[in-house]
Amino acid sequence: MSVQIAGMGWVTPLGSGVEEVWNRLLNGESASAESLSSPLGRDYPVFRVPASATARAPAHPRLRRSSAISRFAVVAGLEALESAGVKLNPEIAQRTALVFAVSNGGVIYTKRFYHEIVESGVQAASPLLFPETVFNAPASHLAAILGITGATYTLVGDGAVGALALKMAEDLMASDTLDHCLVVGAEEADWLLCDAYRKWRLLRSAPPVEPFQQPPRGMIVSEGAGAILLSSEGLAAASPISIEKIASGTNFRKQREAAAAVEAVFSDLCATPPDLVVASANGTFIDQAEQTAIEKHSPNARVYAVKAPLGESVGASSLWQTICGAQALITQRLPGSTEPVSLRTAVVSTCGLNQQVAGLRLTI
C-alpha cells in the first residue's frame, strides 16, 4: 500500500520549519553543542532546541505546565498540517488520527517527580507532576490543541519507533473511517539520559558525531520533534512524495546481531536499489550494521546520515530522517553536495539502540 505524505514539520536543534532547517543542512551547518551539567558533577554535550524554534507554539492552557516534548510536538504538528493545507474543523478532526512516537517520554518531569519521592518521601509527591510523567501526556495535549476526538495512539520504542508509528498509521489509513493521520515523534534531552547512554558506552564526550567511522566513537543526544501528515488521495494539497513501502522490521537481541536485522529490512526495501539511503548511523554499533547492508543491497546509492548534524533524538529521529529523504527528493539536493543530484527513490533505514529495526522507501 502506497501512502502520500501531505505535510511535514519539525523542530530541531537547528531551528524549526522544514525549509529553513533543510537549507541550513544544505549549507553544511551542524547543531551547536550545549553542556548539560549533572548534579553528580559530570557535564554532557547535547544538541538542544533553541527557544526561538518553539516561539510559534500557541498560547494554549494545555501547554502551561507541559513538558518540552509537548511544545516541540505541537509546533511540528501544526507545521505539518499547515503545509498540507489541512484545517481541522470538528468534522475533519473526527476523521483524523494521531500516532505519537516517543522513547524516553517526559524524562525531566519523571525524574523530578521521583527525585522528590527519593529525597523527601512519598508525602512530597506532586499530583501536578505525576500526570505529565505518563507516556501519552504529550499526545493528549496535542490532540486537545488540534481538536482530535477520534483515534489517538502513543507508541513507545527506540530510534525505530518513528518508522513503526508510520507503519501503524499506514495500517490505520486502510480504514475508510480516516482521511488523515498525523504522525509525530518527539524527545527531550536531559542529563539523566546522557548518563545512561554513557554507561551503555554509546555516548561521545564531545562533537562532532562521525557516522561510519571505525571504531565508532559515540553519539550526541539531541531533542526536538518531527511530524508527517499522511492523507487519503485528493484530500490535501498535491504532494509529490509517496511512501512506497514500510518495513516494520524485526528485532535484535545483542548488538552484534543488529547487522542481520538491518540487512533483513534492506532486503525487503531494496528489490530495486534506491538512489539514496538516509541512514540512522549515529557513531555507535548501528553504523557498522548499516554499512554492511548498504554495501550489499544498494552499493551505488548516495548515503546521508542526518544524525551527524542533528544528533540522536531517538523518538523524533525516524521522522527527521524521513523528512530529510523527502526533502532530498523534492529539492534534488543533498547536504554535502554543491551540485544538484538526480534522486527518484530513497530508503530510510531506522535501527534503534535497543533492539528495534525498521525502514521505509520513499519515491517521487
Binding site: 521521583y114 507516556f135 493528549s140 513507545v156 490505520l172 539523566l192 551503555w200 528485532n251
Partner: protein, 321 residues
C-alpha cells in the same frame, strides 16, 4: 509477559505472528527506579547498569518474551495509559480484519512500581478501603499488576488449521476526550463515543450486548462518567467491573479483562462486581453485585479508559462450533 505468552501460544498452537501489538503504561519503571536510586546514592556503576537501562524501555519485556519462544515479529508497544491493553487488542483486531495480517499477538502488561503507586496516591485516586466499583461510597482504586496475551488470527485461517477458537472479536471503538489530562468528561461523552464506535464497527445494536465488562476503577470520576454513558446507551444490560477482585493493572487491565470476557462467553457466567452495596442515586445500572450470575452470554463489550482522555471499547462474541 513470558508466562502469559507461553499460555497463549500453547492454546493457539502453531501461530507464528506477523506482528505483535502490546499495551503498557510504565514499561520497566522498576528498573529505572533502581538505576536512579543507585545514581543518587553515589554507588559506582555496576556491570548491571546497562541492563537496568535496557530493561527500563517498554519494548524490552515484550521482545524478551518473544525471544523466549523464537518469535521475531516486529513489536508495536502502545502506551495509551490505562486504555493501552484494549487499544492494543483493538488495533490488532483491525489489522487482521483489514486482511493486512493473518496472525497478530496482542495483549498488555504492567508491573507495580513505586513511582506509579505514589503517583496515583498523590492524585487521591487510590483507596485505603476496599475497591468498590460503581458503589456510591467508592473511594478509589487498588493497583494490580500482571499480563495477558491473546493470539488473534483470521477466522478462516484458524478454522482451516483446526485451531480451537476461544472467541471472535467483532468490534472496536476508540475516542479521545479532550476534557482534562487525568479526568474524563463528566458527561460520559468520551466513553459513549468509544462504545458507539465499537457497536458500529461490529454492526450490532446496543440491545445485542449481553454483558459489559466495565472499566470501573472505583474512582469517583470514572465510574460516574462511565456509568452515565452505559445507562444512556444500554437498557439494563448486566454490568460488572472485575477490578474489585483483580485490582487495576493499568496497561494490562484491558487485556486481562478481555480474557475475563472470553471466559464469561465460554462459561455462560457473568463475573461479579464485588464489594458493592449501593449504586449512585439516579444511575440505573444492572450491576452483577457481589456474586457471579449465570446467564445467556453471546456478546460482550469490554471498556478501558485512561489518562489523556483515551477511551477504548471492544466487542467479543461466542463462536459457533
Amino acid at each position: 509477559m513470558i508466562l502469559a505468552l507461553k499460555e497463549a501460544l500453547e492454546q493457539a498452537g502453531d501461530s507464528q505472528p506477523e506482528l505483535t501489538v502490546v499495551g503498557t503504561t510504565s514499561g520497566g519503571m522498576t528498573f529505572g527506579e533502581q538505576y536512579y536510586r543507585d545514581l543518587k546514592a553515589g554507588r559506582r556503576p555496576s556491570r548491571q547498569a546497562p541492563s537496568l537501562i535496557a530493561n527500563y524501555t517498554p519494548q524490552k519485556p515484550v521482545m524478551d518474551a518473544q525471544e523466549a519462544f523464537g518469535i521475531g515479529a516486529p513489536c508495536q508497544v502502545i502506551a495509551n495509559a490505562c486504555a493501552s491493553g484494549t487499544n492494543a487488542i483493538g488495533h490488532a483486531f483491525n489489522c487482521v480484519r483489514s486482511g493486512r495480517y493473518q496472525r497478530v499477538l496482542t495483549g498488555g502488561y504492567d508491573a507495580i512500581s513505586e513511582l506509579v503507586f505514589v503517583g496515583f496516591d498523590s492524585l487521591q485516586a487510590s483507596t485505603p478501603d476496599r475497591c468498590r466499583p460503581f458503589d456510591s461510597e467508592r473511594s478509589g482504586m487498588v493497583l494490580g499488576e500482571g499480563a495477558a496475551v491473546l493470539a488473534l488470527e483470521n477466522l478462516e485461517s484458524a478454522r482451516k488449521r483446526g485451531a480451537t477458537i476461544l472467541a471472535e472479536i467483532i468490534g472496536y471503538g476508540i475516542s479521545t476526550d479532550n476534557f482534562h489530562l487525568t479526568q474524563p468528561d463528566p458527561s460520559g461523552s468520551g466513553a459513549r463515543r468509544a462504545m458507539e464506535a465499537a457497536l458500529q464497527s461490529a454492526g450490532i445494536s446496543p440491545g445485542e450486548i449481553d454483558y459489559i465488562n466495565a472499566h470501573g476503577t472505583a474512582t469517583l470520576f470514572n465510574d460516574a462518567a462511565e456509568g452515565k454513558a452505559i445507562a444512556e446507551l444500554f437498557d439494563g444490560v448486566p454490568v460488572s467491573s472485575t477490578k474489585g477482585m483483580m485490582g487495576h493493572s493499568l496497561g494490562a487491565a484491558g487485556a486481562i479483562e478481555a480474557a475475563i470476557s472470553i471466559l464469561a462467553l465460554r462459561n455462560q457466567l457473568l463475573p461479579p462486581n464485588i464489594n458493592f452495596r449501593h449504586g449512585d442515586a439516579g444511575l440505573d445500572l444492572n450491576i452483577v453485585a457481589n456474586s457471579s450470575r449465570a446467564g445467556e452470554v453471546r456478546t460482550v463489550l469490554s471498556n478501558s479508559f485512561g489518562f489523556g482522555g483515551t477511551n477504548a471499547s471492544i466487542i467479543l462474541r461466542s463462536v459457533a462450533a
